[in-house]
């Protein structure tokens, strides 16, 4: 199976461990990932400050057009923000003929054209639906037995379209983690917001949101928070010391990508495949607990 990988800006930098682990997981499962050549930024959550809605759709339409020209495979967008921006454009392109026409008028300025039909997929969607938990379980060589995880989806992983999972109470990642042998703790904050794109600039305001997520994970006895969104990973992890200062807490909660745990459980290397050395709040200690 061949897919496009749309890494987005995040996976090139702050979420580089996501990219490494996604590639390792794909390799272990026999998926071929091709990067969309010369892709551009999706606009992310903060696009509206500088750009109009149509400009943001233009950014995504260009990526869709490139994907179509380069083979039309389904696009995996591991970053939730990229996923949502791209799928939003893809959806509205199909639903609104007027918009489709406008976008093609715009794309023509750069010599491109898009006829629709390219599918945008979240990494969880592909893992859960194209492969299925049984196949994932079969690939496990070092089960994560004894590891208690809080499965945290955040917002843009399933919202707003609920394409492959419930928008209010998602479950796909829970099942994937269980297939790896981990114990998934009940987690009411699983689809609550961490502060997302304005966390960095409105940290005082958003601190209680992130604090609530870290707090519940701790209360539930989770060893770590597992996520599939680089924005969530970053907000919840690297700002923990600041959050602790602001909220008077002492969180020391590893926040890892689901693909990092998969790479590890599939027998991959801690560093080379799982890139777990790139987590600032180290998960090494708690991972020793499980057989992995």
């Amino acid at each position: 199976m061949t897919y496009f990988l749309y890494p987005g800006c995040s996976l090139e930098a702050g979420g580089s461990h996501y990219q490494v682990s996604v590639e390792a997981v794909a390799k272990a499962l026999g998926l071929t990932l091709k990067e969309i050549a010369d892709w551009n930024c999706c606009g992310a959550s903060i696009h509206y400050v500088g750009g109009t809605e149509l400009q943001t759709k233009t950014l995504n339409a260009r990526n869709l057009a490139l994907a179509q020209n380069q083979g039309g495979y389904d696009i995996i967008a591991p970053c939730s923000s990229c996923y949502i921006q791209m799928i939003k454009t893809a959806h509205e392109f199909e639903e609104d003929p007027k918009l489709a026409e406008e976008l093609n008028q715009i794309l023509a300025e750069g010599g491109l054209n898009y006829t629709g039909g390219v599918k945008v997929r979240h990494v969880l969607d592909v893992l859960y639906n194209d492969l299925g938990v049984e196949r994932l379980a079969a690939a496990v060589k070092k089960p994560l037995t004894g590891l208690k995880v809080a499965s945290y989806y955040g917002c843009q992983t399933t919202r707003p379209y609920g394409e492959y999972d419930s928008v209010e109470n998602p479950h796909t990642m829970d099942e994937i983690l269980e297939a790896l042998g981990a114990e998934v703790v009940p987690f009411e904050h699983k689809a609550k917001c961490c502060g997302s794109g304005i966390f960095f600039t409105e940290m005082e305001t958003c601190a209680p949101l992130a604090g609530g997520i870290l707090g519940e994970a701790e209360e539930r006895g989770a060893d770590m928070i597992v996520t599939a969104c680089p924005m969530c990973q970053m907000n919840l992890e690297i700002y923990q010391p600041r959050l602790n200062k602001m909220l008077g807490t002492e969180y020391d909660m590893p926040v890892v990508f689901v693909t990092q745990l998969m790479a590890l459980a599939f027998g991959g290397d801690f560093k080379k495949d799982a890139a777990l050395d790139r987590n600032i709040v180290s998960a090494a200690e708690v991972l020793k607990k499980s057989a992995a």
Binding site: A13, H17, Q55, L107, G110, R159, C193, E202, C206, L209
Partner: protein, 200 residues
């Protein structure tokens, strides 16, 4: 109690010039968006009341409301709105519209967002080292340096964990552009000219 007189000019302005602005018409004031918002406690009006203020023609109150730029883009309101109002798109549209008129509902987010968009407009991508640096420097040279020093712990940690490129300052070294940047720029300009309120 203050009496507010209804004025239809502002709502027409919003319907015509703001991205997704026409969705405001469809609100039936159930308030689900308001109670759904994770930052409801931080908002003075919240979406429902903003929509009512728009319909009532309260330009000042709406355009100067910091609420219009406090959206985290969590999409909860959008999925729960029984009328299918694209609540967050309207919020974003309003913020964009205010900024274009020189009104800055929330300074920090506006600065960061500008640096973000500038990066896209110049290189086609967002350089996660460059953008925060430019953002911090927007406070002016002196404050900028202080702000940058304040962010140093985070930068260092990211750098040490191979999650950031090394730069000694904004543009040093410069970020790479995508190959099709010229075309993208043309497209973005064209898109802007076709956006609501900018036609013709």
């Amino acid at each position: 109690m203050a009496t507010k007189a209804y004025d239809k000019s502002f709502r027409e302005e919003v319907y015509q010039n703001v991205d997704s602005g026409e969705d405001v018409k469809l609100c039936m004031q159930c308030g689900v968006c308001g109670i759904t918002c994770p930052l409801r406690g931080e908002m003075t009006h919240g979406p429902r009341q903003l929509w009512s203020l728009i319909r009532a023609g309260k330009r000042e109150e709406v355009m100067n409301s910091p609420d219009i730029m406090l959206c985290t883009s969590c999409y909860s309101c959008k999925v729960r709105c029984p009328r299918g109002v694209k609540v967050i798109d309207v919020m974003h549209g309003l913020a964009h519209y205010a900024l274009e008129q020189g009104i800055v509902p929330r300074k920090e987010t506006a600065k960061f967002g500008k640096a973000f968009w500038d990066s896209i407009y110049k290189t086609g991508r967002v350089d996660e080292t460059e953008v925060p640096m430019r953002y911090t420097m927007m406070a002016g040279p002196i404050h900028g340096i202080f702000n940058m020093l304040e962010m140093m712990d985070i930068g260092r940690a990211l750098l040490a964990h191979k999650r950031m490129k090394f730069k000694i300052g904004p543009g040093l070294p410069p970020s790479k552009k995508i190959r099709g940047m010229k075309g993208l720029k043309k497209m973005l300009d064209k898109a802007k000219s076709m956006s609501p309120g900018k036609e013709g």
